[in-house]
């Protein structure tokens, strides 16, 4: 017997009329994020054009800092949305760590200089395996956070420990409160919206860390205080 013809499948799709609210939110967030991007560009131009008058203005620095913060939050929201949709995965490639970090720091240079915060980068000449976009999101948020709590100094270091690439952000502020110093993944449901600190950034950071897995090893974040600067220490460990 011969049936040469593959089966027909009538694939006419029914268009759903129900509103997917999280998708609506996600596209609104996307839009806001792009607007803020334009806003940040203009702030940067303004800082350059008017460097004599505004570069050390507290109001201007606050404006830029808060815009950066919102931008980061929105980037993270989108990331978390995609995590929930299950279409966020880490595209891990090999990168030369010093190059990656110094390119990354460049973004924060104008604001750091405006705020008069001292900044140090110490990276070993090593290659690391990570998704550059995701890690950029995490570091942006961490640095932004450090900017908020530090007094005079922020230090970014990268080295190899126990077969992991460890990137550390240290400041000389008061450090993390007791209840935030842990190493596990914060549970999203446990985020406390009342306290004002939603830990959204930490949730995102630890989600990104755990997307980085290699064999038995999985990435993680660690928060503690002290170090050479005596303030908060954020570490992301990547296998």
């Amino acid at each position: 017997m011969s049936s040469e013809n593959p089966e027909n499948r009538n694939m006419a799709k029914k268009s759903g009329q129900t509103i997917d609210f999280s998708m609506v939110l996600a596209s609104a967030v996307h839009d806001m994020k792009n607007s803020l991007g334009m806003l940040l560009n203009s702030l940067d131009d303004l800082r350059r054009e008017q460097s004599d008058t505004i570069s050390e203005s507290t109001k201007f620095n606050t404006l830029q800092y808060e815009a950066e913060r919102m931008h980061n939050d929105l980037v993270q929201l989108l990331g978390i949305y995609r995590l929930g949709e299950n279409n966020l995965s880490a595209h891990i490639e090999e990168h030369f760590v010093p190059d990656f970090l110094s390119e990354h720091m460049a973004r924060h240079t104008p604001l750091l200089e405006g705020l008069g915060i001292n900044f140090e980068l110490e990276a070993e000449d090593i290659n690391g395996f990570f998704d550059a976009d995701l890690l950029t999101g995490v570091l942006n948020n961490t640095l932004n956070n450090a900017l908020r709590y530090t007094r005079t100094k922020i230090q970014l270091t990268a080295n190899e420990r126990d077969g992991y690439l460890v990137i550390t952000v240290e400041d000389d502020g008061d450090g993390y409160p007791e209840n935030m110093q842990h190493t596990g993944t914060p549970d999203f449901k446990a985020l406390d919206f009342k306290s004002g600190s939603t830990s959204l950034g930490l949730f995102f950071a630890s989600s990104v860390a755990s997307l980085h897995a290699e064999g038995e090893k999985t990435g993680s974040i660690r928060l503690h205080n002290g170090g050479s600067l005596g303030g908060g220490i954020f570490e992301i460990w990547l296998p």
Binding site: P6, M11, D44, L78, S89, H91, I92, E94, A106, E120
Partner: protein, 546 residues
């Protein structure tokens, strides 16, 4: 600040020529400012794609800074594709795509052409310098290799990659990727595979996994390729190129339905890749899923508007699939499809007016659409308008001729259609692909719905035969044959059942019927796929009667 000596070299930057493409004037100005501030002098800026591409055709550009979103018209990816495709931009030049997107994989989807780097907005001066610095250093370090690639001197590029690998650990990934790709291009699959395998032995990296899949397909290991790519897609549901390759592997494995499913998923996640839509459209069409096919052709046509991949074929295929779908359908859906088919074909005639065959190809399908809606006059008129190009079966382009025959069948001019197909079969006797098309049309010279009905009856008949319900099988095959009386495989199927029943009953009338069905295939040419089966059944029947 940084214990690494920065390699920033003002002279390097200043010497290069830049092209900025962005639709916002303020952004162009601010980029120009930034570039000037570190000494660049040769800076051109453009708001639109066409003048930018034009500029690259006449002037050498080292660095293109291009925004992905340019408003109406071409986007950054279109520009990149056109520049690389027409070789207006050297491999050794740098193309930087500026996006507001963090999820670029999803937006861009499968790309034959990738930018050298992405820059995500907002961009400040310090960032731009850092990024350009490392890209320019990389460019100069790797220039000996990219230059050989530009000259298509791949063996030399390969030996340079091998030489650079131990010396340039900073560019290890680039070198490994390029090396494997070069081996693939020159057909040295075993060396390419070895590179991917070496990388994978150290670490599970998705690009190496994809590369391995590609090599496995190229070397005919489809099963292993499908397994490898399947797990890649599971781990990275946003890795679009993996879907495309997986579909290819599944097709090669003879699983076209699964392949279609994979492409549908990918097209849903990342809908803007023209070549993927096209792949999906052809695959769905060959799977007889005309709904999916016409939707994908529609997307292909619309994505073609600004793309170098645009082609009249896409318009024609959309017209053909809509013609099939609307055939004999007098509901408002059917009317709307017929109308869309005609509009699409008219647009094709205008857009590709300079192509030789374009009017003929268009009118042949238009005629079929009219006939399918019961407008015989319109149908005849459409053919008459190109009659002078249709009358000589010896000269007509074979693909056009086959499509013309399809229209002739639709207009109940069966004999003309058969004669034409006979002539074409003789002319194309050394082209199996065309011969098969001709056979298919001769087997099933009916509309899409009719064809599906006949096929479904055929399957029912086979099922009944397998369950040994011979009378049911005979009845169902007869029903199918009432739709497509000349279908070779169907006639043989029925013949086989009749002979089996005769063995059980000895009823001579059954033999006679079987003989009739074999006689219908007296003109079956030797190269037909069913010819050997026909010959063997003829012999069996002969033996039974003697």
């Amino acid at each position: 600040m940084n214990k690494h000596s920065t390699t920033t070299n003002g002279a390097d930057f200043a010497k290069l020529s830049y092209l900025i493409i962005d639709d916002f004037e303020s952004f162009r100005l601010s980029m120009r400012e930034m570039l000037r501030s570190f000494g660049a002098e040769k800076i051109e800026a453009s708001a639109k794609a066409s003048p930018a591409i034009q500029f690259c055709a006449y002037s050498h550009v080292d660095v293109v800074l291009c925004d992905f979103n340019l408003g109406e018209g071409k986007n950054g990816q279109h520009i990149l594709e056109e520049l690389r495709h027409k070789k207006l931009l050297k491999r050794s030049s740098i193309f930087l795509m500026i996006t507001a997107e963090t999820s670029k994989e999803m937006v861009m989807g499968a790309r034959e052409y990738q930018p050298d780097a992405y820059l995500t907005k907002p961009i400040n001066r310090a960032m731009l310098i850092k990024r350009l610095d490392s890209l320019v250093s990389q460019r100069s370090a790797l220039l000996p290799i990219t230059r050989e690639i530009d000259h298509e001197n791949y063996p030399e590029a390969i030996s340079l990659c091998l030489k650079f690998l131990p010396a340039q650990p900073r560019y290890k990934t680039w070198l490994m990727k390029t090396l494997a790709d070069l081996y693939y291009r020159v057909g040295d699959f075993s060396h390419a595979l070895k590179i991917y395998q070496d990388v994978l032995n150290q670490r599970d990296l998705s690009w190496a996994c994809l590369g391995k899949g590609r090599i496995l397909i190229a070397t005919g290991n489809y099963e292993e390729a499908a397994t490898t790519l399947n797990s890649l897609v599971e781990k990275h549901p946003d890795y679009m190129e993996a879907y495309d390759l997986l579909a290819e592997a599944l097709e090669k494995l003879g699983k076209p339905l699964q392949a279609q499913k994979i492409l549908e998923t990918a097209a849903e996640l990342s809908p803007y890749a023209l070549l993927r839509q096209k792949h999906l459209a052809s695959l769905a069409a060959s799977n007889q899923d005309l709904f999916t096919a016409s939707e994908a052709w529609r997307n292909t046509v619309s994505l073609g508007t600004h793309s170098i991949h645009d082609s009249s074929e896409h318009y024609l295929a959309l017209g053909q699939s809509l013609a099939d779908l609307s055939d004999g359908d007098n509901t408002s859906d059917g009317y709307a499809r017929a109308d869309e088919a005609l509009t699409t074909l008219r647009r094709m005639e205008r857009r590709f007016a300079e192509e030789d065959n374009i009017r003929v190809r268009s009118r042949i399908v238009q005629s079929r659409v009219h006939a399918g809606q019961g407008n015989q006059n319109e149908a005849n008129k459409a053919l008459e308008s190109v009659a002078d190009q249709l009358d000589d079966g010896e000269k007509i382009d074979p693909e056009t001729g086959i499509d013309y025959a399809k229209t002739l069948f639709r207009l109940d001019r069966d004999q003309e259609a058969k004669d034409l197909l006979g002539t074409l079969a003789r002319r194309c006797s050394d082209q199996p692909y065309l011969l098969q098309k001709i056979e298919n049309l001769l087997d099933e010279p009916v509309g899409y719905q009719q064809k599906l009905k006949a096929r479904s009856r055929n399957r029912d008949g086979i099922k009944a035969f397998e369950d040994n319900k011979l009378d049911d099988a005979i009845e169902t095959f007869n029903e199918a044959l009432s739709i497509v009386p000349d279908h070779a495989a169907l006639n043989l199927n029925l013949c086989q059942v009749l002979m089996k029943k005769y063995k059980g009953t000895g009823d001579k009338d059954l033999i006679k019927q079987a003989q009739n069905h074999l006689q219908r295939l007296d003109n079956l040419p030797e190269q037909h796929r069913q010819y050997r089966r026909l010959a063997s059944l003829r012999k069996k029947l002969q033996d039974m009667m003697s």
